[in-house]
């Protein structure tokens, strides 16, 4: 019997603090797997956000520099410009990248910075207890959109990935999800593609990953995966949004 699946080297053998069924845990493993398979561990510098995933530096066994909430892409810009041959990626929640960090994200993309932003879209602010996020769906109930989000009162769910595809500096943007084995595999490929685009120096890459947050959605892990399929993906379709490596693709 050959072992065909085990913990990636870049992921410390430490239990996650994440809730049962949380998408962050799965994404952490995928990031570590990709970094191991691409042999990048020794040149990787990650930028964890302020949010549930801030503790990512307990789990990843490579260099990590924590950024103030929302400033990940700006901080990563400084890191990457100082170390142009390293792999620099940010790991940010929807509030981090699409609310407080919107300006930094848009301009980092616009400058075509060779970094990869991992945008974890779990449709709420996880760490702080399930408040409304920029990606919270219309009608979705959160602790700060009681009775469901209303467009004209709370704003509409923002489509940051599509917006960033309009910047000429962005090279690869894809939206995936981790709510099923197939989507998890696609997410892994997308992360690998993002890192490749970065290492090839083609410009800014963004992988938006729709991720279950059972605790704050008040659902079981499996229901959360189904809710992604039924609700989120209708508003946030999965797929490649921009890919400069393929001619005539994307917006």
């Amino acid at each position: 019997m050959k072992k065909v699946f085990s913990r990636p080297r870049s992921l410390r053998k430490v239990p996650f603090h994440y809730c049962p069924g949380c998408g962050h845990s799965i994404i952490h493993r995928l990031v570590a797997e990709v970094i191991d398979e691409m042999g990048l561990r020794e040149i990787t510098i990650g930028v964890p956000p302020a949010g549930c995933a801030v503790l990512a530096y307990f789990y990843f066994d490579f260099d990590m520099g924590e950024s103030p909430h929302g400033r990940g892409t700006a901080l990563a810009t400084g890191l990457k410009r100082a170390l142009p041959d390293r792999l620099v990626f940010t790991y940010q929640g929807d509030g981090d990248i699409a609310a407080i960090g919107t300006a930094e994200t848009i301009h980092t993309a616009n400058r075509g910075e060779n970094i990869t932003a991992l945008f974890i879209n779990n449709a709420c602010y996880g760490m702080t207890g399930g408040q409304m996020a920029p990606t919270t769906l219309l009608g979705q109930n959160t602790t700060t959109s009681p009775g469901g989000r209303e467009g004209l009162r709370d704003g509409y769910p923002i489509r940051l990935s599509e917006m960033l595809a309009l910047t000429d500096g962005s090279a690869y943007i894809e939206r995936t999800a981790v709510n099923s084995p197939v989507n998890i595999r696609k997410t892994k490929k997308a992360i690998a593609k993002g890192f490749k685009v970065q290492m090839d120096g083609l410009g800014f890459s963004l992988i938006e990953i729709v991720s279950p947050c059972p605790t704050n959605w008040r659902m079981s892990s499996h229901e959360a995966c189904q809710w992604i399929e039924k609700e989120i993906i209708q508003y946030y379709p999965l797929g490649v949004i921009k890919d400069v490596t393929k001619r005539g693709q994307g917006c």
Partner: protein, 81 residues
């Protein structure tokens, strides 16, 4: 079977890492993982491999790794052969 001897698999679930989220149970094509009714140190009912003691030939598990792929806690190791 189309004459090919089908591969057999085997999984090990780390009961202390498992948080009983049941994703592996939901997604396992053979439905051969279930929740144990005793608790791990954190107070979760951990999942367990029902064919743990079944002989290799009788096992349905093919080592497809879907359980490990969906497991958030990287609690499952998969063997095949």
């Amino acid at each position: 079977m189309n004459g090919r001897t089908s591969l057999k698999g085997y999984i090990e679930i780390d009961r202390e890492f498992c948080k009983g989220c049941k994703l592996c149970i939901e997604f396992c094509p053979k439905g051969i993982i279930s929740l144990s009714n005793n608790l791990n140190q954190k107070g979760y009912h951990p999942a367990y491999f029902t064919e743990e003691n079944t002989k290799k030939e009788k096992r349905q598990c093919t080592g497809c790794s879907i359980c490990a792929i969906v497991c958030p806690e990287v609690a499952i190791e998969v063997y095949r052969g």
